[in-house]
Symmetry: C2
């Protein structure tokens, strides 16, 4: 099978133009098939505030009411996505920016939670793998923002980590997929204050042990749960670390396997 690299970047890169430019330079040098998934960063919150919306959060998740959905669509699918695509084009990477509505690439359903109304938040149902394959085989580099649709005309705000993992799972049917999550740390740390405490290899047994000991906790748990779920569904390899690992293949990061 042909190789496919899926890279997810978050707000720490999106919010910093210098880091973003460096990342996009490095990303454009990755050979072969590749997909970029980007999160949102702070500009949606800033825009919401500047037009008088009050962002609402429950359990660290944004509640997406209709005006906030408009804002995230503008910022994620408009401003961020198109600027990233234009910069990749300048590096001769033939990028196309997508929401899940485009080409029906990622269809989701509005979250139906028994007690919390998350608003216009979508849980991924289906990836249009044949179209993605056609695009990749035509030399296109898809760039996904974290917006999907329900197939009935409604756009939905969707977690970018989840989009990356769902794309990885779906494309692993036809590609040998490496999924890389870039974030602000060098990898999964046993001591969040110490960048030298990177766990370089983690499997499900070690993960259970570290969770029990409390060495892995809070925000890292849903991220790693997502990773093990993706590996169990066919993704070949997952890496978590700072985006400098794209530039320097010897840079330390966390590699996750079953």
């Amino acid at each position: 099978m042909n190789k496919l690299s899926i890279i997810k970047i978050g707000g720490n890169i999106i919010d910093n133009p210098t880091e973003l430019a460096q990342f996009l330079t490095d990303f454009s040098k990755i050979e072969g098939n590749k997909i970029l998934v980007h999160g949102g960063g702070k500009s949606a919150t800033k825009m919401a505030q500047s037009i008088g919306l009050v962002p609402q959060m429950i359990d660290g998740r944004r509640i997406t009411d209709a005006p906030m959905l408009d804002v995230v669509v503008m910022i994620y699918a408009g401003e961020i996505n198109k600027n990233v695509v234009a910069q990749l084009q300048a590096h001769n990477t033939n990028a196309i920016g997508f929401s899940g509505a485009d080409g029906n690439l990622i269809q989701s359903t509005k979250r139906n939670h028994p007690t919390i109304d998350y608003g216009f938040v979508g849980d991924v149902q289906k990836v249009n793998t044949p179209l993605l394959e056609t695009l990749l085989n035509s030399g296109i580099t898809p760039v996904f923002c974290a917006i999907t649709h329900d197939g009935q005309g409604q756009l939905l705000n969707t977690n970018a980590d989840t989009i990356a993992s769902e794309l990885a799972i779906a494309t692993s049917e036809v590609f040998d997929v490496t999924l890389t999550y870039c974030f602000e740390k060098a990898g999964v740390l046993t001591d969040v204050e110490d960048e030298n405490s990177v766990i370089q290899q983690i499997n499900s047994a070690l993960y259970s042990k570290l969770k029990e000991e409390g060495a892995i906790h809070s925000g890292m748990i849903p991220k790693l749960d997502n990773c093990f779920n993706s590996l169990s569904k066919g993704v070949q390899k997952i890496r978590i670390g700072h985006h400098r690992m794209l530039q320097n293949t010897n840079a330390i990061c966390t590699t996750i396997e079953l």
Copy 2:
């Protein structure tokens, strides 16, 4: 050659959700290859005002400074484009939304005017016809917003009528292209107050005569100049009229030929 319909809609449809829904229903019923180009409407101006920007105009054209470019990218490529795509998907039209940066589909150069600094405004240089052909042959319906790029990382605000005509000219090398401009009137009128004064057929001789007589003036002149330019460069047929002509093929509109 296969047929291709290129339809351009402006602010009067974009700003009215009921009209837009009706238009998209009718557009989705057009058989065969089709491309939609949409303008911006009032929401970019409203957004600019709500974040404290003062829109600047010279000769009826928006001056696009950097903060205004951010706004038009957000609104045109984000909010409008993705909502249109999601609605077309609901009609089983497999739409993908594009700026000119996506797939390097429309490259432009920043306008260099001897006396007026238009800001981040792009004049179209080149359409990526082979990629458009690949997309159309894969059953995709491209939906273009009026944003292009310069190939060096800069997004540029571009006139939507011009985008429609440049796409029509470029694709007329490989398709039999009909270009349709939908606007608020039934067609080109000899009396702007009288919807019954539609000129149903216009050629270059009649156009010259009507311009001399003053029956065609102001905003209609650049639109028609654009049309005759497109026809001279290979576009088969151009229509101007109200979008109800998509629904009712007997509806009166203006058909333009050389």
